[in-house]
């Protein structure tokens, strides 16, 4: 359930806030992702997720309840027929807010709020992928703990460390492939000079 917001209403009054958030939710369902201020994104998130929950229920009563908030029948139709099936397996958390930057005119922190329409991927497989590395370490420790001091170091740190290590390997591997190609020497030289410029800007 949406938690009541503390503090002043957005837009100046309760009615204005309701309309404003309804408009934002409508645009979110129409375009799948919208850019707005952080405050508005955080306020529209519970409303939008609640509407998605109604859409997943899918009956006429749910549709009428959504239509109480969103006036556009076309958007509601999209929500019920296109968005709801995509999030059928998702147990809540239908939106994602990513903070982007600061608006030019008033320096307001901006954010992108988008519908999470990717198929649900269970978190367990990722851990199982990390576990074999740990399980490879563990038997060696069990069989010969004195032989593997490096494995003992791995044992002290939890299973998160191998995951991070694999990520770094993935990032660094394409770089080596790029540097290995002989034709990219000029590109590298340009990139090197530009990187120097950027580092100088960052330092200044």
């Amino acid at each position: 359930m949406p938690r009541p917001a503390k503090g002043p209403r957005l837009g100046g009054g309760p009615a204005h806030e309701r309309l404003l958030l309804a408009g934002l939710a409508s645009q979110l369902f129409e375009h799948r992702a919208i850019t707005t201020t952080e405050a508005k994104a955080k306020r529209v998130r519970p409303l939008a997720e609640r509407l998605v929950t109604f859409a997943k229920r899918g009956d006429l009563h749910a549709r009428r309840r959504v239509l109480r908030t969103i006036g556009d029948k076309g958007v509601v139709h999209q929500l019920f027929t296109e968005i709801a099936p995509l999030v059928a397996d998702r147990p809540g958390g239908y939106t994602r807010i990513t903070k982007t930057g600061y608006r030019k005119g008033d320096n307001a922190p901006m954010a992108v709020i988008e519908l999470v329409l990717e198929p649900v991927t269970a978190k367990r497989p990722a851990r199982r992928a990390a576990e074999p590395a740990a399980s490879d370490v563990a038997p060696t420790q069990a069989s010969a703990p004195e032989v593997a001091p490096a494995a003992a170091e791995d044992e002290s740190s939890p299973a998160d460390v191998p995951v991070e290590a694999t990520d770094r390997v993935e990032e660094s591997a394409p770089v080596e492939a790029e540097t290995a190609t002989p034709a990219s020497a000029e590109v590298e030289a340009d990139a090197a000079t530009k990187s120097d410029d950027e580092s100088g800007k960052a330092a200044s």
Partner: protein
């Protein structure tokens, strides 16, 4: 409308203004393709092409929005 009765002394003005200080933003340092990149924490980062033109906003390996 309220109107100040007295002129504010130069010392008072300067004392007030001296409290206004700029502070450096806390940045996250990451190494990408052997290059050190600074970015704001918990905030999408602008990815630039090799010619320095901003391409798109990226956060945790996910493309967020166009620049």
């Amino acid at each position: 409308m309220a109107v100040p009765k007295r002129r504010k002394s130069r010392a008072n003005t300067h004392a007030r203004r001296s409290q206004w200080k700029a502070e450096a933003p806390q940045l996250v340092k990451t190494i990408e393709n052997g290059k050190v990149v600074y970015s704001l924490p918990h905030r999408a980062r602008v990815v630039e092409g090799s010619d320095g033109v901003p391409l798109y906003l990226e956060y945790k390996g996910r493309r967020v929005a166009d620049a």
